[in-house]
């Protein structure tokens, strides 16, 4: 039997949601009615405009509560990755490498193209890591090279070759005008043109990257928001020992 799920406010299946948005209309009762009708038009019912504030003469900010009848069948939902595959801890990963690989794993990473943001690659690679999850530099059995930001794709590839990398991490933070897609696509094309694609495990990362998107662009995996170093490292070492 299908398991239909809906948002939960304070009662099972009440379908309650909170919305906030801006409309290009002046603030007033007409604007509030416009917000209510708009939310209604989206298929919600019990629409309640709880807050309306003018942001200028032409724009109003709204907060609206509403309920939806729509639900979906939980049993048909597939996630971006298998949630039951838990990542190993840093110690487990080090032990795994010692036992199954028997040498240090070399990981090279950078934020490539014109993107100047090191925050993503640093969270995964720097010694300190992020949110109390140590980065790859801290891993005894991983040799991590973080090249920083604004690294040309080709330079990253050359560096990976020179250091005999097992895996390459490509970080993309800026996504304006889909620049991350262009940069990631170029990276894979460069690798393929040089006949090097098979040599490395290629991983894309960034706030707007999903596993599905990365796979579509030709990467082995993609990691988005909420990823820590151990998630990436677990993937790399399992993939290295998979065959």
């Amino acid at each position: 039997m299908a398991t239909i799920i809906r948002p939960y406010g304070d009662t099972m299946n009440d379908g309650k949601v909170q919305l906030s948005f801006t409309l290009p209309v002046p603030c007033g009762s007409r604007g509030m009615e416009a917000a209510r009708r708009l939310v209604h038009a989206w298929g919600f019912h019990e629409c309640e405009v709880v807050h309306a504030a003018p942001m200028s003469e032409e724009f109003t900010f709204f907060v609206v509560y509403a309920a939806t009848h729509h639900g979906i069948d939980w049993d048909t939902v597939e996630g971006d990755r298998d949630d039951s595959e838990k990542s190993m801890t840093m110690d487990e990963i080090n032990a795994f490498i010692k036992e199954k690989i028997g040498r240090k794993v070399v990981v090279v990473g950078a934020c490539t193209g014109f993107d100047a943001h090191t925050v993503g690659i640093d969270a995964i690679m720097n010694m300190k890591g992020y949110n109390h999850h140590y980065g790859l530099e801290r891993y005894e059995m991983i040799e991590a090279h973080n090249l920083g930001a604004q690294v040309p794709n080709q330079k990253l590839i050359e560096y990976a070759c020179a250091h005999n990398a097992d895996a390459i991490l490509v970080s993309q933070v800026v996504t304006q005008k889909e620049s991350h897609i262009h940069t990631l696509t170029e990276f894979i094309e460069l690798l393929e043109a040089q006949g090097l694609r098979g040599r490395f495990i290629c991983i894309a990362g960034g706030p707007r990257i999903t596993n599905k998107l990365a796979a579509k662009l030709g990467f082995d995996a993609g990691f988005g928001r909420g990823t820590y170093a151990e998630d990436v490292a677990t993937f790399i070492v399992r993939r290295m020992t998979a065959s």
């Binding site: 942001m55 200028s56 724009f59 900010f61 920083g148 604004q150 005008k177």
Partner: protein
């Protein structure tokens, strides 16, 4: 202002003396060199304007043509071209843009050429003087209408005309300062793009025309709101002096200008950056611009709790380099940030301690305080609370320039409503605690006072270490931001040129005389 932290004055004096001693050899190096962008900025302040059909600016064309003579300074050669050809300046620029090389002209009377260059500079300096006078008059007229601290908002659409709409809306929301973020690649371009632009990634190109368009838009809002709106842009990168010159000509009010940011965070050659930052800062100083330094970057790269001393150390160095370029304390928007891990117990108290410490060590400086970014997640509700703890600390410690945090930081470039929420909640907090620091003292042996003393102690130790090793060597050894940069590595090194005995630069002479820096 009454001291709440009782920081020992002898230690503060010691830190300043160390900073002076650390910067001295670097300043000596700076004096003996020029760079391609120092020469291009000189040309801009002589009035050189225009670009070739494929977009190469006239100052670049001139400097490229005179590449082997930069050690003499380009000003004499440019003025010589005017004398030799007898052309009006605009006509000469047009011909240069079409491909005419002034390097083909022999040098005539060099003294006469330098005198002409001096006259050309006088014209542009008169424009900068008028800008400065206009700003002062408007700030006097609308005195008391700005917020304290100044509320700083960013726009970043990539399209200057779209930026204008968002900037005007932001100023109407209550922003005192509008910054136009630059496109991500611009800091690494060795030229300044020309004309109005509508395409950019993560921001908008800094061009003189874009500056002018935004200035006009902000002046409109200023008159309507009867509140001076500060325009901000970014000098950092490979063209620091040129962007400073453009900012002076178009009456910008603030510029991001850090003495070491480019070296550490953009991998620009250190010699190049040191030379460029001084010339750009002299232009900022002369034009009455408030610089904003980039210490917040140390905390996004390294841990904000452990590396707090690197921020204070950098502030002392930035202050020293700023004095050496003629900037006054009221123009030194030294940077720092609220970036501690939110899970640290008493973390907000440590932030309070450090913000108060910066305030007491730099009492006349309009400190530029940056909001949490590193630990902002997709949880916008918690993020909003973090931003408002930052608002609280900023107001409570009397910061000067307050960059408003966005609840959607790390998600997208701000929606209009994100800015609205930021301003509304900041004004609520700041209004509600207006007099808090007149009411509160810190326990002399308490956690806040102890933290401030510890950071100052650690800073003095760190500066002692840097003095022993030397600033450039320290950068090579990754003592700043955990990033190592070799002396001759990085971008733009090839644009560094030793000055010859015959070097002459009437723009620099005028700046140094006006700023009291003449030898």
């Amino acid at each position: 202002m009454r001291s709440k932290l009782n920081l020992p004055q002898d230690k503060i004096d010691r830190a300043r003396a160390l900073a002076a001693s650390i910067c001295a050899p670097v300043l000596e190096f700076i004096e003996q060199h020029t760079t391609v962008t120092v020469e291009r900025a000189t040309l801009r302040l002589l009035g050189a304007d225009g670009a070739s059909p494929d977009g190469i600016p006239v100052p670049n064309l001139v400097v490229d043509a005179l590449r082997d003579r930069l050690g003499e300074g380009v000003a004499a050669w440019y003025a010589n071209a005017l004398l030799q050809t007898g052309l009006e300046q605009a006509e000469l620029d047009r011909r240069i843009a079409e491909g005419f090389s002034i390097a083909t002209l022999p040098m005539g009377d060099r003294q006469r050429a330098l005198e002409l260059a001096s006259e050309l500079a006088a014209r542009n300096f008169a424009r900068i003087d008028a800008n400065r006078a206009f700003r002062q008059a408007k700030q006097e007229e609308y005195k008391g209408r700005n917020h304290s601290p100044l509320l700083y908002l960013i726009v970043a659409t990539g399209n200057i005309y779209e930026d204008v709409k968002q900037a005007q809306a932001a100023a109407l929301h209550g922003a005192d300062v509008i910054a136009v973020i630059r496109t991500t690649a611009q800091s690494l371009l060795d030229y300044v793009p020309y004309g109005a632009t509508t395409e950019g990634f993560g921001g908008t190109y800094a061009t003189q025309e874009n500056f002018r368009i935004m200035r006009q838009a902000l002046d409109e809002v200023m008159e309507r709101e009867r509140r001076y709106i500060y325009q901000t842009n970014y000098a950092s990168g490979l063209c620091m002096p040129e962007i400073a010159a453009m900012g002076a000509l178009e009456r910008l009010d603030m510029m991001l200008n850090d003495s070491m940011y480019g070296i550490l965070f953009r991998d620009i050659n250190m010699y190049r950056t040191f030379v460029d930052q001084r010339f750009s800062r002299m232009i900022n100083a002369y034009s009455g611009i408030i610089i904003n330094t980039g210490e917040d970057n140390y905390l996004t790269t390294s841990d904000a709790f452990e590396k707090a001393y690197t921020v204070l150390a950098s502030q002392f160095l930035n202050e020293r380099f700023a004095y050496a370029a003629g900037l006054q304390p009221w123009q030194m928007g030294l940077g720092h940030a609220f970036e501690m891990d939110p899970s640290i117990k008493n973390g907000i108290l440590y932030e309070l301690a450090q913000a108060q410490m910066a305030r007491e060590i730099f009492p006349e400086h309009p400190l530029k305080y940056m909001p949490p970014t590193k630990h902002m997640s997709g949880d916008i509700f918690k993020g909003l609370v973090m931003d408002n703890m930052f608002n609280f600390v900023s107001k409570a410690t009397g910061q000067g320039i307050h960059l408003l945090g966005m609840l959607t930081e790390a998600i997208h470039t701000p929606f209009m409503m994100d800015r609205h929420i930021a301003v509304e909640t900041a004004l609520y907090v700041m209004n509600g605690i207006d007099a808090i620091m007149d009411e509160i003292e810190f326990r002399p042996d308490g956690l806040i006072v102890r933290r401030a003393h510890e950071v100052l102690d650690r800073t003095v130790q760190f500066l002692e270490e840097v003095e022993r090793i030397g600033l450039m060597q320290s950068i090579e050894q990754a003592m700043f931001a955990d990033i190592a940069r070799p002396r001759t590595g990085g971008k733009g090194f090839e644009g560094l040129v030793p000055r010859l005995e015959t070097y002459a630069n009437p723009v620099e002479d005028r700046l140094e005389r006006a700023l009291g820096l003449a030898h």
